[in-house]
């Protein structure tokens, strides 16, 4: 009885001392502000900022390595709280959301072959740029849907990604993963965008897609603030000048300009 208590108790005490010493030697000083800021941050570890997780962002914020608006997900209110903890001034940034600049779904765009491989855009893109006849269009296999950490993207019945702008945080994950670069970030308040990515000449676009930009230039004339320019057979909107009037949407003969007013 006694030897049992003494030996086990002694072992426990010995180990406790050992651990106590080790704890002192390997003590990690954690700034209490890191926890506070990490709580405000969304905590989904999306990686859009280039850090592996939100804890690392909080640490970098405190060390002053990055600006307080580096996280694309924090709302204005949260930004203010973070700035308060850090003792900095608040910077409010423009909110951006991902939008699809292609309308070549299975009804509009022609296909050049039947693809039966892995349902993954990046894989399909390796086979002659995918099954779509248009070399610039969305492949519609839903790699962005899988990639989105917020469940903001779903494939619609036309096999095109449909973005829920309330859920979209502008984290850029889908933009980076898309092999065709048909997803792009556009300021959220701007409701008009060119929904085509084709730099091909007008005749070529017409051959492969019903709703592509043919570079006709009618929108240039319709646009009163002169926000639209034509580059490489593709209209481009300067969002500094765009007023959301929607004149260009009505004028476009191929309905390649979209608005969701």
């Amino acid at each position: 009885m006694l030897p049992a208590i003494l030996s086990l108790g002694g072992l426990g005490l010995l180990f406790a001392f050992g651990l106590g010493l080790a704890a002192r030697k390997f003590a990690v000083k954690v700034d209490p502000r890191i926890e506070k800021i990490a709580e405000i941050l969304p905590g989904v570890n999306c990686g859009a900022c280039g850090f592996p997780n939100c804890q690392a962002v909080a640490a970098a914020l405190i060390e002053g390595k990055i600006e307080s608006d580096s996280c694309v997900l924090v709302e204005e209110e949260a930004l203010r709280n973070i700035a308060e903890i850090l003792g900095q001034e608040v910077k409010v940034k423009e909110k951006k959301v991902a939008r699809l600049i292609c309308q070549g779904g299975k009804d509009q765009a022609k296909e050049k072959y039947v693809y039966q491989g892995v349902r993954e855009c990046r894989v399909a893109n390796l086979l002659f740029g995918g099954e779509k006849a248009c070399a610039y269009g969305c492949l519609g296999l839903g790699t962005c849907v899988q990639e989105c950490p917020f469940g903001a993207i779903a494939l619609d019945e036309n096999n095109l990604p449909l973005i829920n702008e309330d859920k979209c945080t502008g984290c850029r994950k889908c933009v980076e993963v898309c092999p065709k670069e048909v997803l792009t970030l556009i300021p959220k308040p701007k409701k008009v965008w060119i929904a085509c990515n084709s730099r091909a000449k007008g005749a070529q676009v017409k051959k492969v897609c019903q709703e592509g930009c043919i570079g006709c230039g009618l929108c240039l004339k319709a646009c009163k603030p002169k926000a639209i320019t034509l580059e490489n057979n593709l209209a481009r909107i300067d969002y500094q000048k765009c007023t959301n009037c929607g004149d260009c949407v009505e004028k476009c003969p191929t309905k390649a300009i979209t608005c969701c007013l």
């Binding site: 072992l11 003590a27 990690v28």
Partner: protein
């Protein structure tokens, strides 16, 4: 010398703790999503297993045997392992906070990892000496590491593969683990 060499490699290949003895399956399935995490976990397990083998042998032979307290060996061994795991946790938190976060709950769970307790029991059962015990613990840890890193590599590829809905995730993981185990059966009779 040859005997120790054989002991070391048979603990890795022939009597692999995960794939032949089926010990330590919980972290094997839990921490094998990413190779990086698997490597971190196996480092921790190698460290804990080697030291646990050594210390439990000392405790058994110099404390439990002389005082005739053999019935306490499970309690004593758990005490040793829990202490070592605490130590590893502190070191990892200091050295790499990212791995510390990634391992999460599985790190303290090494305490109840049956592979660690299993290696301590086997050492006593087989009547190994101090050197053999340590080598056996090291081999067992390396074997666990080999199994989990191999498995994590396969699982990373599985994520991109086209798998039927019913088989996704853990289901296909268990099938793969079974196949790996079958493959390791091929090492039987190596020594």
């Amino acid at each position: 010398m040859g005997e120790i060499f054989i002991l070391f490699f048979s603990a890795i290949l022939v009597n692999n703790f995960v794939l032949s003895r089926f010990l330590g399956i919980c972290p094997y399935l839990g921490v094998s999503r990413r190779v990086e995490m698997a490597v971190g976990m196996s480092m921790a397990v190698v460290f804990v297993m080697t030291l646990a083998s050594l210390v439990t042998w000392l405790v058994y032979n110099f404390i439990l045997l002389p005082f005739n307290l053999l019935y306490l060996y499970i309690v004593a061994f758990i005490l040793v392992i829990a202490t070592l795991v605490q130590l590893v946790e502190m070191v990892i938190q200091k050295v790499s906070p990212t791995i510390y976060q990634a391992l999460g709950i599985y790190l303290p769970l090494i305490t109840t990892n049956c592979a660690v307790l299993g290696v301590a029991f086997l050492n006593i059962q087989e009547g190994y000496g101090l050197l053999k015990t340590t080598i056996h613990g090291l081999g067992a840890g390396v074997g666990f590491g080999l199994a989990i890193v191999l498995f994590a590599g396969i699982r990373e590829r599985l994520e991109l593969a086209d798998i039927g809905d019913a088989m996704k995730g853990t289901a296909i993981g268990l099938v793969v683990a079974g196949l790996l185990s079958l493959a390791f059966m091929g090492f039987r009779g190596l020594f």
